[in-house]
């Protein structure tokens, strides 16, 4: 009887644990699924390499057109409408908000459209190219293209005209090249600052500091403590210390990439110090003894044998740091800023990928699709980095 009761209890608890953990798993999967479903349609080369801001060009054409026209290239899809008079291919498309627009998908390299005079700036030219959006067009025969009538009607009007009074085109925009570059700069600058300091601190702690050294103990405590500090506090540190500091020694005025890198360096230092120290710990003492017994100095032993053997560990510290830098947002809101930029200047504000998400979601019209697309990119990069760290660690434990 008692036996049966215990069995039943065991069964209930197991069911309970099962339900609770599957709720957790379900929530996680749901988040990923949501992000992928929302953002995957935007993933493209253009997203990675394009400008964030779209520019509208205003131009015209009053020259002559070659009577032979331009042949439709066979590579064009059937859904593309083509004007052989102008050598331009157009396609209907929907933007992120679901509104229809006309996309330029092909311009013949010899078409006059590849170089039109710019109405806004005297002497400048405008290049109509694939990837741009076609806006309003007024032809010299007074016909007018309206985007809402679609690509087919536009092509008919193009074919019937031999001059353009006014041509509006818009580059696509919503690309994240600028934020990718900022992120890469931050990774590079941060590692340049934090890697030597972190590795040398770990070397000091593990190889040089005398046992029971007060300084070493204090340093270890500090490292432990820093690991648990929420990053917004580092952000404040960046705002209070690093922005003024970098503003005095560079041309910067306000948030910039140097103050961002310094802030991030403080954040990743504990990671680098502790994982480097861990990797120094597993290096057998026999190596150090063998080296010293060969008449090598302490420094030679440290650099030629110990650090060399610790390289895989240091590498995984670097990868962990890169993951942390890519994922960091709160600490950078002050130190680097929240202004999305296409042309990155080290001494000016810009956004990293993570802050880019924050910026577009904090605006008047949050762009969920773009935020999700960036999230996917960050998730993939972080996932790959973690995978490499695991592989390195496994290689290490096997050696």
């Amino acid at each position: 009887m008692n036996h049966a009761k215990r069995h039943r209890k065991d069964f209930m608890i197991r069911i309970g644990i099962g339900i609770v953990s599957s709720i957790g798993l379900f929530v996680l999967i749901a988040i990923f699924a949501f992000v992928f479903q929302k953002g995957s349609s935007l993933l493209s080369w253009q997203l990675l390499t394009g400008d964030y801001y779209s520019t509208t060009y205003d131009s015209y054409y009053d020259g002559t057109l070659p009577s032979a026209g331009f042949e439709r290239p066979s590579s064009l899809d059937d859904s593309v409408y083509y004007s052989s008079v102008w050598g331009i291919g157009l396609q209907d498309d929907l933007d992120a908000e679901g509104k229809p627009y006309i996309l330029i998908v092909y311009v013949d390299p010899n078409s006059p459209l590849t170089s039109l005079p710019d109405k806004n700036t005297e002497g400048e030219t405008v290049q109509i190219a694939s990837g741009q959006t076609l806006g309003k067009v007024i032809f010299s025969n007074r016909t007018i293209v309206l985007t809402s009538n679609g690509a087919q009607s536009a092509i008919q009007l193009f074919d019937g005209a031999d001059g353009i009074l006014d041509l509006l085109t818009t580059t696509r925009g919503k690309g994240i090249r600028g934020s990718i570059i900022t992120t890469l700069y931050l990774i590079g600058l941060t590692l340049v600052i934090a890697l030597p300091i972190g590795v040398f601190s770990a070397v000091y702690l593990h190889e040089y500091a005398p046992k029971n050294s007060k300084l070493a103990e204090a340093l270890r405590r500090l490292v432990e403590m820093l690991t648990g500090v929420p990053s917004i506090i580092f952000g404040l540190l960046g705002a209070a210390v690093f922005i003024p500091f970098t503003s005095t020694i560079t041309a910067a005025d306000g948030g910039n990439l140097f103050s961002g890198a310094l802030t991030l360096a403080v954040i990743v230092l504990p990671v680098i110090i502790s994982s480097t120290e861990e990797s120094l710990k597993v290096i057998p003492d026999e190596y150090r003894q063998a080296s010293l017994a060969l008449g090598a100095t302490k420094t030679q032993t440290t650099f030629r044998v110990v650090l060399k053997a610790a390289i895989p560990g240091i590498l995984s510290a670097v990868l962990l740091s890169v993951g942390r830098i890519i994922g960091e947002s709160a600490a950078l809101i002050y130190a680097v800023g929240t202004a999305i930029k296409d042309h990155i200047i080290l001494t000016e504000r810009s956004t990293s990928l993570a802050v880019h998400i924050w910026s577009i979601m904090a605006g008047e019209t949050p762009n969920f699709e773009l935020a999700s697309a960036i999230s996917i990119i960050i998730l993939i990069v972080v996932f790959v980095l973690n995978l490499i760290v695991k592989l390195v660690a496994r290689r290490l434990s096997r050696a």
Partner: protein, 253 residues
């Protein structure tokens, strides 16, 4: 002092913290001979060996009184250059411990640390050291491979080559064959016989036959004291001390 002595040890007392490990050791290590240190586990053989090239310096709390003279000079004197000492007095450890780098780099490590950069000179040194360690023929086609890819016996000969590459005067060996099989052990014993022409060798061993086979002199230690030190044939044929006799006949230890 005997001119044939490389090391002269005078009233050496060594403490690890509170614990005394060596008591009033006095002995001379003869030049170009093999000297074996024997005795039961924990009697201080390794400790004595390590005090010859000052590897005991690395141990926290290790304290030394008395003298160790190498070529007449007190190696524990304040001004003595320990780096210089270790380039002249090489060491081979119980467990083969090649660096995690190529065979070539392992052997070239010591010379490189001395500042030798010339590729040809290094290649010469490495080749000669490997030849002298009777390893060259086995590894000549794979000098770029990791030293850890060798067998245990080969690794130990690599470690001997690494020590020889420094062109030392003395080689200290702490149970160099205890981790090896009989064939690899025989190879190392042959090697030691060859090496004694050019080097003074001090070897710690637990193997009585080995001591009898390869050494010219044998020192027997017991609980940190030097019980008896003499020509190996004398120690093994007519020991003067009862304790020595008991030990070599296997009555204890």
């Amino acid at each position: 002092m005997n001119a044939r002595a490389v090391f002269q040890i005078n009233d050496l007392n060594l403490h690890y913290g509170e614990k005394q490990a060596l008591f009033d050791i006095s002995m001379e290590i003869p030049r170009n001979q093999v000297t074996a240190l024997i005795g039961p586990s924990g009697c201080g053989k390794s400790t004595l060996l390590r005090s010859l090239n000052r590897m005991n310096d690395l141990i926290d709390g290790c304290h030394i009184d008395g003298q160790v003279r190498y070529e007449e000079e007190d190696v524990y004197a304040k001004t003595y250059d320990v780096i210089e000492l270790r380039t002249k007095v090489g060491m081979v450890f119980q467990k083969p411990n090649p660096f995690p780098m190529s065979i070539f780099d392992n052997v070239a490590y010591g010379p490189r640390c001395q500042g030798i950069k010339d590729k040809k000179v290094l290649a010469d040194i490495v080749k000669k050291a490997l030849e002298n360690a009777a390893l060259y023929d086995e590894v000549k086609d794979r000098l770029k491979e990791s030293g850890n890819a060798l067998s245990g016996g080969q690794q130990q000969r690599l470690c001997i080559a690494r020590a020889i590459a420094m062109n030392p005067d003395v080689i200290l060996m702490d149970e160099p064959t205890s981790a090896l099989d009989p064939i690899a052990t025989a190879k190392i014993e042959d090697l030691i016989q060859d090496l004694k022409k050019d080097y003074t060798i001090v070897i710690v061993t637990h193997n009585m036959q080995q001591a009898a086979r390869i050494s010219d002199n044998t020192a027997f230690f017991l609980m940190g004291e030097l019980v008896e030190f003499d020509k190996t044939d004398l120690i093994f044929s007519q020991p003067r001390d009862q304790r020595t006799e008991d030990y070599i006949t296997g009555r204890f230890g």
